[in-house]
């Protein structure tokens, strides 16, 4: 156990030092991350205002709250593992990592954690400024925070695993970006990035229920806004954990198959 702590400490120190070397890139990434929800926010606030003050139960300030919370959660859950992984496979860096007596996933976990920590320094003031501009209707209580934290943590774990699994297609094809594009369409739609899920038509929402996307992003947002009933909260956690178990199992299986493939065609 202490060895794991030691490894993570060293891993975090390395990724921290590495990422601080790329401050400009960090800021550019962040801009993209902030811009997209702000555009949605403005569009839906306009819709709500022109629709007589509300649209689908959301008032303009409610939309503001939704998209700002979404921005924070999206920031805390997104990964760039697909690009990273493809690069590693293509330039052979993965071979070096495979020589180590530890799973390379720990590097990615560490990198993710440090990146999120570093960039929070920019995200938090940004949210405060945007909050002052758009005046969101949000009431954060200790209860919502208490419910939000596990929902957020589980969402981050699930999204990380799902995107890691997707990244592993790099073992089989060099067209990773095409697969990624295919993934981002349903993610955008079913994770509540386009519009709050409660505004979707019933049939579409039903389809969404069978998919993991809501649990990767929208759910913690709904929780922090107090839009989830206590019963649904528990169901939500269970769903998140269920998907995580499935994702973990898939990761193990696909990782093994991927390594076999990698080791067959030429590492």
């Amino acid at each position: 156990m202490t060895e794991w702590v030691d490894m993570y400490r060293a891993q975090l120190a390395t990724t921290f030092a590495t990422q601080l070397q790329y401050r400009a890139v960090l800021v550019i990434w962040l801009l993209g991350l902030i811009l997209s929800p702000v555009i949605s926010l403005v569009v839906w606030m306009t819709v709500a205002t022109s629709g007589g003050g509300q649209a689908g139960g959301f008032t303009a300030p409610a939309f503001a709250a939704y998209f700002l919370a979404l921005m924070v959660v999206n920031h805390l859950t997104f990964t760039w593992i697909a690009w990273e992984f493809e690069y590693r496979v293509r330039n052979g860096q993965l071979s070096g990592l495979l020589l180590r007596p530890t799973d390379p996933i720990h590097i990615d976990i560490a990198a993710n954690v440090t990146y999120k920590t570093i960039t929070l320094v920019i995200v938090i003031p940004t949210v405060i400024v945007l909050g002052a501009v758009f005046e969101p209707a949000i009431e954060i209580t200790p209860v919502t925070i208490f419910a939000f934290i596990p929902a957020l943590a589980l969402a981050a774990v699930l999204r990380f695993l799902v995107e890691y699994i997707l990244a592993m297609v790099a073992f089989w094809t060099t067209r990773v970006s095409a697969i990624n594009d295919l993934y981002y369409v349903p993610l955008f739609f079913f994770s509540g990035q386009l519009v709050p899920l409660s505004l979707l038509p019933d049939t579409v929402r039903l389809i969404g229920l069978a998919l993991p996307f809501r649990w990767m992003l929208s759910f913690p947002v709904e929780v922090v806004l107090g839009r989830v009933q206590p019963d649904d909260l528990i169901t939500g956690y269970v769903a998140q954990i269920g998907w995580i178990v499935i994702a973990l199992a898939s990761r193990v299986v696909i990782w093994r198959a991927g390594l076999r493939r990698y080791a067959a065609v030429g590492a």
Binding site: D6, T14, A17, T18, L98, L99, P101, A263
Partner: protein, 379 residues
């Protein structure tokens, strides 16, 4: 009668004192201790299947329906045993299958056929206990993070390999000393020169004190001084730790300085396995005679005629290639008839020998070079 029995301990010698003295003559029916080979390869094969695409639109349309692949036999029926502590040179021209073999030995590639054992482990299972005991250094591949000082990467390596701190300190000090790393440690790796980076790369790969080292072109692209430095280091590391080293190199100086034993492969097949000196014997039954003359270098041609061959002649210095068996006869003849200032008899440069090995192989092999690639089609 009491006789000391020398156990070679695996590491450091710390457990030497704990071994009770045993009498080898006592007959208690125990078997003698068997030495587990560090590396054991038997009938190893690696075949890559590569798609064959002909140029042109029609051909690419055809390839949609009928995919033609060609099998490349990178390693073909290779059997090698390397004992612990041996430094072995692994030679062959580009594409001979050296790197493929090293990758199979370190668990990065799965064999198509045959058996691989390294320290008793099956590398492709990538067990942690196995990975902790080996290292693979590939020319340009990096264990070092590009943007941060090498010392940070070293620290990460320590944590990943779970090296106890005191032991890590000791190893690091030793490596810093042997490779002269001190001034390089605080610089971001990307600011280091190729040679400096290579030294750090080698150092990081050895921090966990691997028992088996696979070195793929460890001196490639380095200047002569740096090559010598790394060579000396490898020899010293082997001497101090009793590590097994399997190295490939295109620089014969590396091989001559480090390897008693050489393994030569070509087209994935074993051509030679034995002492460097017997390689020279077998593939170069010639000696090189260098003679310095006061005068009369124009007459040397007649003396050599029928025995050897004049390779160079300038300013009274003549270099002659002569069959080994005739060396004495020719030397005698030259000394008797010409005013010789100096005369040396040498084995030919190892580079020439290696070149000859491959040349001979090409000539004696009946099949054309493409024969090891077989084409087949699948629907």
């Amino acid at each position: 009668m009491f006789r000391a029995v020398w156990h070679i301990p695996a590491k450091g010698g710390a457990n030497f004192a704990k071994e009770p003295p045993t009498d080898p003559e006592q007959d208690d029916g125990t078997l003698p201790v068997m030495v587990i080979p560090a590396v054991e390869i038997s009938r190893l094969r690696k075949t890559y299947s590569v798609p064959v695409r002909e140029p042109g639109v029609m051909a690419s349309l055809r390839s949609l329906v009928k995919r033609t692949t060609r099998d490349i036999h990178a390693v073909d029926d290779l059997s090698i045993v390397v004992n612990p502590g041996e430094v072995t040179g692994f030679l062959g021209p580009n594409g001979a299958g050296k790197t493929t073999t090293l990758k199979m030995l370190s668990g990065l590639l799965y064999p198509t056929g045959g058996q691989v054992r390294v320290l008793g482990f099956e590398p492709s299972r990538r067990e942690r206990a196995f990975l902790r005991q080996i290292t693979l250094v590939m020319g340009q591949r990096n264990q070092l993070a590009w943007d941060i000082p090498a010392t940070d990467s070293f620290e990460l390596h320590r944590a990943i390999y779970r090296v106890p701190r005191p032991e890590y300190r000791r190893t690091l000090d030793e490596l810093v000393d042997l490779l002269d790393l001190e001034p390089l440690l605080p610089k971001p790796v990307r600011q280091l020169s190729l040679g400096e980076r290579m030294k750090c790369e080698i150092a990081v790969s050895l921090l966990h004190q691997p028992k088996v080292l696979f070195l793929d072109e460890p001196t490639i692209g380095l200047d002569v001084t740096m090559q010598r430095r790394i060579r000396t280091f490898i020899a010293e590391y082997n001497r101090r730790h009793g590590a097994t080293v399997l190295l490939t190199s295109h620089y014969m100086a590396d091989v001559e300085a480090l390897c008693k034993r050489v393994i030569v492969i070509h087209h994935g097949k074993l051509l030679f396995d034995g002492d460097l000196s017997s390689l020279v014997q077998r593939f170069s039954p010639y000696k090189t005679l260098t003679i310095e003359l006061e005068s009369g270098s124009d007459r040397i041609g007649d003396l050599v005629d029928g025995i050897g061959e004049v390779m160079r002649s300038e300013d009274g210095r003549v270099t002659i290639r002569v069959p080994k068996s005739d060396t004495a006869r020719l030397t005698e003849r030259v000394l008797a008839s010409l005013p010789v200032i100096d005369l040396t008899v040498e084995d030919p440069p190892i580079d020439d020998v290696i070149e000859r090995v491959f040349a001979v192989e090409r000539v004696t092999s009946n099949d054309p070079p493409e024969a090891h690639e077989r084409e087949h089609q699948s629907q």
